[in-house]
């Protein structure tokens, strides 16, 4: 049964990753791309979780936590950068 679940979730997560990548490619603004890459990171984390659950090991747990740290730092930094860059022309 676990192999069936693995196949089903692999298909679902592949479709989800394709959707997120399409939004990264198409996204009209930088913030849309940041959001979509955050979702892509969450999908990768979901894939790591499912691998750990199906194969019954805990090797990827630190990688999962590191992934959420990277997502956090990345989106906060880029959001800050966007805010600063768009503010400047209005001030001058």
């Amino acid at each position: 049964m676990m192999q069936t679940v693995l196949a089903v979730t692999a298909v679902i997560l592949s479709l989800a990753a394709a959707g997120a990548i399409i939004r990264i490619a198409r996204g009209p603004s930088l913030l849309d791309r940041v959001l979509a890459s955050d979702v892509l990171l969450a999908i990768l984390g979901a894939a790591l979780c499912i691998d750990m659950a199906v194969n019954r090991h805990l090797d990827n747990l630190m990688l999962l936590v590191a992934l959420s740290v990277i997502g956090f730092i990345g989106s906060v930094t880029v959001a800050r950068f966007v805010a600063d860059r768009r503010e400047q022309p209005r001030d001058s």
Partner: protein, 134 residues
């Protein structure tokens, strides 16, 4: 009646299988939302699903599959860490989106920040004019 070990095992397996499929569907829902929603703020609404509920379901499936008790606190810490960082980054992205006007104003039902921004702008204008008078 106490279920024997085999039945219990099958029940736990089935529960974790359901958790895994639903958790994966959360990611798919986020992707569909990203593709179909019209502006940044509504896309942010969709993007939160795999980050919180999806991760919770998958970590729960992991805890059920590993069949040990000590792993639950570790998984809880991982989930709480995600729960603490996701609102902060969502706040930053939403704030940057509001400031750079990446939203469709006609789609908002209320805009509570508008009044604050208007007040601050009026105050800044008043200070500017009083500075100019001197």
């Amino acid at each position: 009646m106490i279920p024997d070990a085999g039945t219990l095992d099958a029940v736990i397996d089935g529960l974790s299988a359901v958790f895994m499929v639903v958790g994966a569907l959360m990611s798919l829902a986020a992707a569909v939302g990203l593709l179909r929603f019209p502006d940044l703020l509504s896309r942010m609404h969709a993007a939160t699903k795999p980050q919180v509920l999806g991760l919770f379901l998958l970590l729960a499936a992991m805890g059920l599959q590993l069949r040990t008790w000590w792993v639950w606190p570790v998984l809880l810490v991982a989930w709480i860490f995600q729960l603490l960082t996701v609102p902060v980054s969502a706040h930053m992205v939403g704030r940057a989106g509001y400031r750079t006007k990446h939203l469709h104003r006609e789609l908002l039902s209320t805009d509570e920040l508008e009044a604050v921004v208007q007040k601050a702008a009026a105050k800044a204008a008043r200070e500017d004019s009083s500075d100019g008078g001197h």
